[in-house]
């Protein structure tokens, strides 16, 4: 690429250019205005830097390509697809570009925020080194002030708040069954705004007078009189805040408008609820911190008087506006953690969360109450005295919903089947540490006590118990929990445990004693202290260093496991989509071969392989999903086989069937997805056998690309046949699967378009939906009648009842299939999502079907009819729907027939 081309295409070259132009434009505006007003000096670097800090980031964003699409759109020009949804990143470089795939953005967020976590952590270490003994050790008091301010600001605005946005970006669309976020381009922009905020904060160290040093709270009028570094804070907050608002808006719209059918609000996982409520807080509260920083910025640069009492300004107004954001912000930093812990605990205790609705209600209660407590940060500020007691009471009240959550988690663990792995360890650590932080919070809500410990280390202890022992522990829990899903590999469990125990012990040794020195009166935010606090501070510093080192264990574990960790096992946890395939029997028992077998990490080998001919066979790899079993596919394979036969070559056919991402319902019904794929595969292998081809088959990773590449690596292939729906219906074509496979494997790839609707003429495929009535006489009779009318293929699905009757359902299904097979009909079946409507939607996605038969009890007895199931199915599909009524008696007879 020539330099000119590089500068024209979105990317880092253009971004660098944009940065320079942006700064130039800012400088031009500034100098121009000063010339216009006749101000001196014409070139005032303070003013130029201020304007430049706003204009250069925009230059950067335009350069890197955040706005390309919108510019074309706005000018009415045809837009250019730059969409990455579905295929995400192909190499690590893609993570350094504007990318709209939610999984890529999730990882971009997580990695960026962890970078700032490390930087902020190093600053904490330097502070603790300085505080290890009384007097001045290494750094000047001013540097110390800068360090604690940047440390806290990075931790809050660049780590905790956005890392949750990152995790949520990754998992929320998957959890609610959405293909991506509602506004993928806005999502990319929100991400790119974030590092800008962090870098501006770090750059403040280069400003004359040092970095901003007013703490993360930046109270006026101190902040209005500080050197230039403070301006960096004002502006960095605007970028981080804009990023936060944009993501929150995106989450809200995604959750409200893009839930899969069947995913009602009251069925959403609690992490989704947590993110929903957090996003409400962000959208409503964050503009207040933006306002407060605008005021400070204007007072500093334009000479306004928001906070100048001598000109009728009001100093305390800053704290009101600031805390009206920043108290809700502590819940912005905590609620997503609550969601993560709910997921982790219920997964690792193998139990649904106790009091699910109460958990969701308490989140809502926190959102509302969170806006009524801000002035508990201002008890000593000299604000209206009458406001104090009400704020104390509301603060205590807000502990109630929080307490509900703690007890719900404990009740979930009670009598659970507890798997004490690293994520759960961190979740348990969270419960204890956060409870302690909550208790010191209640102490602080008590006005006389708060007056006593205001601005002491007691407050530092409190915030670290809630933020580190609370939020950061949940982040670790979440990262360990979803690591296998995000990377496809397992972390090292032993190192995880070591990381937990080191953190847990040294966290307490670091921050526990701070309560004591705080109550004794050691002031916070001061680089030096009285000799009486020396011993405890030495202990604190040493523990803090070990605590800091424990993070290296985490980093090593993550980096090493990501690169060469063992592949994560399928189905080990319901949330980890397995990468390791299960094999289904390729020959012999026909369609029923996989019926009723479990779906664990089982590998069944095909016997056909052992006695294969000695010459190197021609290996045909068939990749198909819903279209597996389509006639065109069977015929093509047959033709290929015949060709090989004519050449005198032995051949080998392997069919892989990447399992579907269900579009409907609760995504965690992983078993049924896999079962559906196994059934489809088994049917296909049966059909191939009918035309005389013994093939092997395997259900694989949902991502068709990686499934194909894995299969090539495992079995080898000489040619590949990929079968998809015709263009408009195929999700795979949208991901340019075929080109990627062809490019990356270098093998001949044939693309076969299978129009399942056209197959109809040869074979009618009937989807049968029934629960208790499944073996009932009238139903079986109807199916038999259909069977005599022409070639027919039946798929029987049983939406599994609530509670533990899965086993019963399996037995009923097996019995029914026996009846049908007995009558010479071709049928497969599976137990599915308990909600019959969702089950039908999923089944229609998994299996080709031409008609639907629903069987229920008569009107008055049928819960399905009462919920208008038939009408809803009819409304959702154009396929004919038949309804068969089976009485209770007939059903009982059928069950014993």
């Amino acid at each position: 690429m020539t330099m000119a081309a590089r500068l024209k295409a979105p990317g880092w070259y253009r971004a660098a250019l944009g940065l320079i132009i942006g700064f130039g434009v800012g400088m031009g505006i500034d100098v121009g205005l000063r010339a216009l007003y006749g101000w001196h000096p014409l070139v005032d670097w303070t003013a130029i830097v201020t304007v430049g800090l706003i204009s250069s980031p925009f230059g950067f964003l335009i350069g890197i390509g955040c706005f390309d699409y919108w510019f074309r759109w706005a000018s009415g020009a045809p837009t250019v697809p730059e969409d990455h949804s579905g295929h995400g990143a192909r190499s690590w470089r893609d993570y350094f570009r504007v990318n709209t795939d939610h999984k890529v953005i999730g990882l971009q967020y997580i990695c960026t925020t962890f970078f700032f976590f490390v930087v902020g952590g190093v600053m904490a270490m330097v502070m603790r080194a300085e505080l290890a003994a009384p007097g001045t050790q290494f750094i000047s008091p001013n540097t110390f002030n800068g360090l604690f301010s940047v440390h806290a600001s990075l931790m809050i605005f660049l780590f905790i708040i956005p890392v949750f946005a990152g995790i949520a970006n990754y998992v929320i669309p998957l959890m609610i069954g959405a293909p991506d976020m509602a506004f993928p381009r806005l999502n990319a922009l929100s991400y790119w705004l974030l590092p800008i905020g962090g870098i501006i904060m770090l750059l403040s160290f280069l400003a004359p007078g040092g970095s901003f040093s007013t703490g993360w709270t930046a109270y006026a009028p101190l902040s209005t009189h500080m050197p230039l570094g403070q301006t960096f804070f004002n502006i960095a907050i605007q970028f981080a805040g804009a990023s936060s608002i944009a993501t929150a808006l995106n989450f809200l719209v995604t959750i409200i408008t893009m839930r899969a059918p069947g995913m009602t609000f009251w069925r959403m996982p609690l992490l989704v609820w947590a993110n929903f409520t957090t996003s409400l807080l962000v959208v409503i509260a964050t503009p207040f911190i933006a306002g407060s920083q605008f005021f400070v910025l204007f007072d500093r640069t334009l000479g306004t008087h928001f906070f100048d009492p001598s000109r009728s300004g009001d100093v305390l107004m800053y704290q009101h506006v600031f805390w009206f954001y920043s108290h809700p912000a502590v819940y912005i930093m905590m609620l997503p953690g609550f969601g993560i812990v709910s997921e982790v605990i219920s997964t690792h205790a193998r139990k649904p969360i106790f009091g699910y609705r109460m958990m969701a209600f308490s989140l809502m209660a926190i959102v509302v109450l969170g806006f009524t407590v801000w002035a508990h940060h201002m008890f000593v500020s000299g604000m209206f005295p009458w406001l104090r007691v009400p704020m104390m009471l509301t603060t205590m009240l807000i502990a109630v919903p929080t307490g509900i959550k703690i007890f719900s988690w404990l009740a979930t663990l009670w009598r659970g089947v507890i798997h004490l792995r690293t994520p759960l360890l961190f979740a348990l650590g969270f419960i204890t540490m956060f409870t302690l932080g909550g208790i010191s919070g209640i102490m602080l809500a008590v006005i006389p006590f708060d007056i006593h410990v205001s601005d002491t280390y007691f407050v530092v202890a409190h915030i670290h118990y809630v933020l580190f022992g609370g939020s950061v522990f949940t982040i670790f829990a979440g990262i360990y929990h979803w690591f296998p899903k995000m990377t496809g590999r397992m972390y090292d469990e032993t190192l995880g445990r070591i990381h937990f125990w080191l953190s847990f012990v040294f966290f307490n040794l670091t921050f526990g004693p701070m309560h004591l020195v705080g109550i004794d009166g050691m002031p916070r935010r001061v680089a030096d202290y009285a000799h009486q606090y020396a011993t405890l501070n030495a202990i604190i510093s040493i523990s803090a260093f070990i605590f800091g080192l424990s993070f290296l264990v985490f980093v090593y574990n993550i980096v090493a496991s990501w690169r060469h960790g063992p592949l994560a096992e399928g189905n080990r946890r319901r949330a980890d989509r397995g990468r390791r395939p299960i094999r289904v029997r390729g020959a012999g028992s026909g369609a029923r071969g996989v019926q009723g077998e479990g779906t664990g990490g089982r590998r069944v080998r095909s016997h056909g392989r052992h006695d294969r001919m000695s010459a190197q066979p021609h290996r045909i790899l068939v990749v198909a999903n819903e279209t597996v079993g389509g006639r065109a596919l069977i015929e093509t394979v047959k033709r290929r086989a015949e060709e090989a036969h004519e050449r005198g070559e032995p051949f080998e056919v392997t069919v892989i069937c990447p399992q579907n991402e269900p579009r409907s319902g609760y995504v965690i019904y992983e078993d049924s997805v896999r079962k559906a794929a196994e059934n489809r595969l088994a049917t296909t292998l049966g059909q191939l056998r009918e035309v005389g081809i013994e093939a092997d088959g395997e259900v694989m990773d949902p991502d068709p690309y990686s499934a194909t590449m894995d299969a090539i690596a495992t079995y080898g292939a000489d040619e590949i046949i990929i079968s998809t729906h015709p263009g408009t219906r195929s999700g795979w074509l949208r991901r340019d699967l075929i080109d990627r496979v062809r490019e990356d494997s270098g093998l001949p790839v044939e693309h076969l378009v299978v129009d399942l609707d056209a197959d109809r003429a040869h074979m009618t495929r009937t989807l049968v939906v029934a629960n208790q009535t499944v073996g009932g006489g009238p139903l079986i009779e109807l199916l038999k009648r259909k069977g005599t009318e022409g070639p027919h293929n039946f798929v029987v699905i049983l939406p599994q009842g609530e509670g533990g009757e899965h086993g019963d359902a399996e037995a009923r299904l097996a019995h029914t299939l026996d009846l049908l097979h007995g009558a010479g009909l071709e049928a497969v079946g599976q137990v599915m999502d308990p909600d019959p409507f969702t089950a039908v939607q999923n089944a229609l996605q998994f299996y080709p079907a031409d008609e639907i038969v629903v069987s229920t009890f008569p009107d008055e007895r049928s819960g399905w009819l009462r919920s208008h199931l038939i009408e809803r199915i009819k409304a959702s599909t154009s396929k004919p729907v038949e309804h068969v009524v089976v009485t209770a008696e007939q059903a009982r007879e059928g069950a014993t027939a």
């Binding site: 000018s75 009415g76 697809p81 969409d83 959208v283 503009p287 305390l316 408009t728 074509l733």
Partner: protein, 205 residues
């Protein structure tokens, strides 16, 4: 092989660049809801400025307007009328788009844009003649703060209108596809309503 061309053709066929179509779990449109949430956060931003106003004028009992200054209530009143009428023309544009009346849509958008520009010009003219500056006293600060914040919103709104107008003149939008008129319209109405609140609190009471 035919496959590559299938994939390429598919991409070029229509302007669908998003992820695979999602299920619609709410009757509300995503773009509409997004704009609504954005407006909520904008209202809160105004809220923070009104808090400053409240502390200066109500809690601090500052003279309003500052002693020795006067606010041009009448001129601002005329300006209010201009902005309100621009909301009407905006509505006309949307109705026309829905009725496939291309002239009405273009004229509606263009006149809304011009009315908005007039509003801003009058506002700037007012700044020049009002007789005090933001750095004179807190009353001046918050006067410029609130009207300036609003002016910035008018400016953003004008940009959105400009995009919509350009697209309208380049042949976009019809009875089925008019979101590009509707969504900026919502924003414009918000800017209008917000002005009425600002006008009432700053000039009238």
């Amino acid at each position: 092989m035919e496959s590559a061309s299938v994939a390429v053709e598919h991409a070029a066929e229509h302007e669908h660049h998003g992820p695979p179509p999602a299920n619609r779990s709410s009757r509300v449109e995503a773009q509409f809801l997004g704009m609504l949430l954005f407006i909520i956060s904008e209202v809160m931003l105004f809220g923070s400025f009104f808090t400053a106003y409240f502390f200066i004028r109500v809690v601090g009992h500052a003279h309003w307007p500052a002693t020795g200054t006067k606010l041009p209530v009448a001129v601002a009143g005329v300006n209010t009328a201009i902005l309100v009428s621009s909301s009407l023309t905006m509505h006309w544009a949307l109705l026309s788009a829905k009725n496939e009346n291309r002239f009405g849509m273009r004229a509606g958008l263009a006149s809304t844009f011009l009315l908005g520009v007039t509003f801003l010009t009058v506002q700037i003219n007012e700044y020049v003649h009002v007789g005090f500056a933001p750095h004179d006293h807190a009353q001046g600060t918050i006067f410029y703060g609130l009207t300036g914040l609003h002016g910035a919103h008018v400016f953003v709104g004008l940009n959105l209108l400009l995009f919509a107008t350009i697209r309208a003149f380049r042949g976009h939008f019809n009875a089925k596809e008019h979101r590009g008129v509707e969504v900026p319209g919502i924003y414009w109405h918000f800017v209008d309503v917000m002005w009425i609140v600002v006008y009432t609190t700053i000039y009238v009471i």
